[in-house]
Symmetry: D2
Subunit: 335 residues, 4 copies
């Protein structure tokens, strides 16, 4: 039975608390949040849980094995570092940190101490993404050729990070999870309609050494909500529409083969369209899978799907995109 502490009880905290409380091999022992009214909410629904305003006080509790950090991004690094130094396993909200250096330091720290450090990239645990991963791993769609995502709506303008840092972590974590190849570089463009240097519309391309390409369209200023990802393989193609209540993933038996006619130096392309399959997806709540993976990673000393290394790569891509936007769309190489 692992004892857990939760830091931050804002929008996402209650979901984390509910899901970790439902795990058989874990008990949430304490919750920290600076706001008294938020702590009141914890006490009302979970009278046996200790509450406190000070996060460091929570980290200092000896009996706590693992800490879940659900605070604004700028505080992730300090809190996670303290928790790791105190010997606790750590689960952090996405994005992991606001700088690549911080993410690297945390990743190395966890490694050197033999602690689990995981990032809550919840989407990796959805029925939809699990099914897509399964289709790719079973070579159903063939070699992946592109990933094209739109995540747009009339969204809350964030005061400190641009629309990519706000929305793209979902899609970038999926990309990194689903596609094995290492990203080579990033180009990005965008605009700030609030004239404060924080883009509310941004476009991001991730380039690879192979002929794979990924593109991300993010906006807080769309009149319609779109959550759509196209994943094209050389055998089949997938359309993942997260707004569909029960038909999120569609697999198209659609493709083309090409060859060059040697005599005539001409391109010959064969097109093919066949059936469409809409697989039934697991209805399990994704965050419950996050909790399970975190706990079993602690128990078995394995890396979770949403590992620190994956979370670090997400930060690298976001950082590169921001650099590219500020440099007129220039290609930024990922190291």
């Amino acid at each position: 039975m692992y004892k857990l502490g939760l830091i931050g009880y804002g929008y996402w905290g209650p979901n984390l608390l509910r899901n970790f409380s439902a795990q058989k091999d874990a008990a949430v022992m304490a919750v920290a949040d600076g706001r008294l009214d938020r702590l009141e909410g914890v006490r009302k629904n979970y009278p046996s849980i200790m509450t406190m305003q000070n996060a460091e006080e929570l980290i200092d509790i000896k009996e706590i094995d693992a800490v879940v950090i659900a605070t604004p991004v700028h505080s992730h690094y300090q809190l996670a570092k303290k928790a790791l130094l105190a010997g606790k396993h750590v689960l952090i909200e996405k994005p992991m940190t606001s700088s690549v250096g911080d993410a690297e330091e945390l990743t190395n720290l966890a490694d050197s101490r033999g602690l689990v450090l995981m990032v809550d990239h919840t989407f990796l645990y959805t029925g939809a993404v699990s099914k897509i991963k399964e289709l790719i791993d079973a070579d159903i769609i063939g070699k992946p050729k592109y990933f094209d995502s739109a995540r747009i709506n009339l969204g809350l303008f964030q005061p400190d990070v641009n629309v990519l840092w706000d929305l793209a972590p979902h899609d970038l974590s999926m990309l990194l999870y689903l596609v094995d190849e290492k990203p080579f570089s990033v180009n990005a463009t965008g605009i700030s309609h609030t004239h404060n240097g924080i883009e509310n519309i941004a476009y991001m391309t991730v380039n690879y050494e192979s002929d794979f390409i990924a593109h991300f369209n993010c906006s807080w200023t769309s009149p319609v909500k779109v959550r759509q990802t196209l994943i094209g393989g050389d055998r089949k193609m997938i359309v993942y529409n997260d707004l569909e209540p029960s038909e999120k993933v569609r697999v198209y038996d659609t493709g083309y083969d090409h060859k060059t006619d040697e005599d005539k130096n001409r391109l010959l392309v064969d097109y093919r369209t066949g059936d469409i399959q809409i697989p039934k997806l697991s209805p399990k709540e994704a965050l419950s899978g996050v909790a399970e993976d975190f706990l079993s990673s602690i128990a078995t000393k394995k890396q979770p799907l949403a590992s620190a290394r994956l979370g670090l790569k997400v930060v690298q891509l976001l950082d590169a995109a921001q650099k590219s936007i500020k440099n007129k769309g220039k290609e930024i190489i990922i190291h």
Copy 2:
């Protein structure tokens, strides 16, 4: 009564012939196409029209006032130049030419000779785009802030031009028609899955000196067909879905205002969502509007909506996008 000659009777030629034949003040006198079976098709349906294999022969016919060129893009420049030099008004298929220099030369030639030179950017004459233009001009949507277009499907790979030259002219002509400001620069990225240097997926951003931004997503390798354009103003926003049979244009009373709280240096954003309006659109065939505008431009010596100057700007943007792709997404300034 103007006498017209049509050069090229391939995919689009029959539509041009049918629409020009239906005009009261015009008669198509001759059609030229190198392929005998295509000419046979003309003679069967229009027995009174002269047919010939040689385009120059057609241009040499004295009685012909205007020439319509519907051949592959690489031949546009030579044919249009000959026709202009022979004193004919000219309508060319889009894109106007395959280089900026050629388009400039044709535009100047037409100007200096007092001839109409028009490009068949058919979309400008659709009921949908006319309505959107009307909404912008009447200041219904407020100041335009962004233009975001996706034109993707499992499309024919072109052997000589990339997916932007194939698909984006529609969207670029709309952008130039609808938004008054001059584009400042272009960034673009893309990939060629056929490894012949011809991109089948490409993304293009058009930047402006103001805070307006435009983005284009084009692909020949999508399992689903998408033809969607978002046009956001600071008062209302438009979603134009060209695949909708009767509800192509939707006007959202959606928006946000922002100000900076001076004391706290904090961004305050007010969101607003209201009714959605789906205006009834003119059902008139767009190509019939093209024919009318060409003929009335000749008659009244006015510039058509789809003027040579607009067609030239489309070519400039395509050329800049191609340069950007070949230069790793670098910003290319439009002069």
Copy 3:
């Protein structure tokens, strides 16, 4: 401040409790349910509320002004009668009762005692139905001509009532609320695939003395979920799709006029299609409106929208439909 008792804490009970608890001028004093685990749920979330297994015990509490009955339909009559005889105002779940006689008796009893008797036809309090009512009352759609509803999905088979008693009360209450004219008769057909006399698919027509017509398509055995109502007026027509997250109501400026050409005894019909309007709807929770209307009806001695008389008419129509099905679709007159 009214004191309320709630009888039945199954599927809908928690929603009723939450909404009544949020009302300023009411307090839920007691909850009765035969199942101990359900009562446990009440005590956990509302420690100050009295709980008991026996409904009659609750009705006997002197301080209670009004009783909310959310039990299976077969027990509605007995419980409501006891509560009315004890001088309590009553809100009953829909359908009001399982027989016309019972509904009449309750309605008369409440009238004679000067008590409010209301049926929880929640849909009347949705933003969508409020807007449609407003459009009809303001004569925007003209004279109503038809009401056509489909409410189908893969639903739970009820053990004691057919699919009309389960699903149609929503649509029948809307019909009665929106359309002023008294129904004249009912025809219905259906089938029981479980061979127990309980139809899982049924179709019902409500006829009127005027040329208005209403039709209802209900099924527990559809692979797709549909919640769609068409309401046609002689000026405009409404499509109400309850599954749309934010665009539930669409108003079509669509219609036709007809006249008979006197000389030729020929029908002349003029068709018209114009804009479509999608009005913004109130996001308020419908059940909160139910609670407010119940309490203010008690306070001001007015009839609620979802009055006993409306609830009685719903039962009359359901009863007539059942009779028609059992009599091979024969017309059953509504008295």
Copy 4:
């Protein structure tokens, strides 16, 4: 090589002419239509075809083997009878005739003379219906349990027949083609908003001796166009949406099993939902299949899919529906 004559060159005639002209083993020799301008259209596009105003003159042409009748329904019987008596094979537009007696007489006449009599129920030859038939025959969906169709739009009011005679023949022919069991009876209701006894909205149930049921919703006065058919089997269910450009048929692995718990006399239902399959359909033009089937039925003396007997049953069902509407929805037995 069969020689054909076509009577009637209105809305559908040109499609018939084009498709029969494209058949290898047939030549259309003559076209008859009372309207000179329609005949002019034939001569322009098919200069070698004889034209005439008088249909009887066409029937009298000895060389003609088969006659295609595409005139208004009231003239079908007289023309078809003459053609059959003259020894010609006959293809008639749907519905076959306007009375059951006429349809029976024609069917018997064709039988006794050994001639092919076929009705142009084009839908039976679509890729969608062929695929559904294949799925039923291969026992993929299990035993059919229901057929539920909606065919509504803002349609042309017919001056002489109601909306069922106009729209339902498509759906009734599908029902008869797909489901083997003989219909037992019909109930129908409807309304005439033009007050001329011709219903513009009508609902029709077809009952069977087994627990299969079919229902049809037809309207000329819907603001939205719907063409949707649900076909439920006890193993899978099909949704056929004819307005979908490329995804017309969806097969749901959805169902339920039921049994009665013997001890408790309680109904137990198990629900199941699985993948959805969208099969690729043949893109072949349906009318070309009609032409082929007619010609090969003549050649091989077989019955076509859209046989006279099927066409007669469609007329029987329409006639029963009309009787039911005029008798307040009363059940009409099919003999």
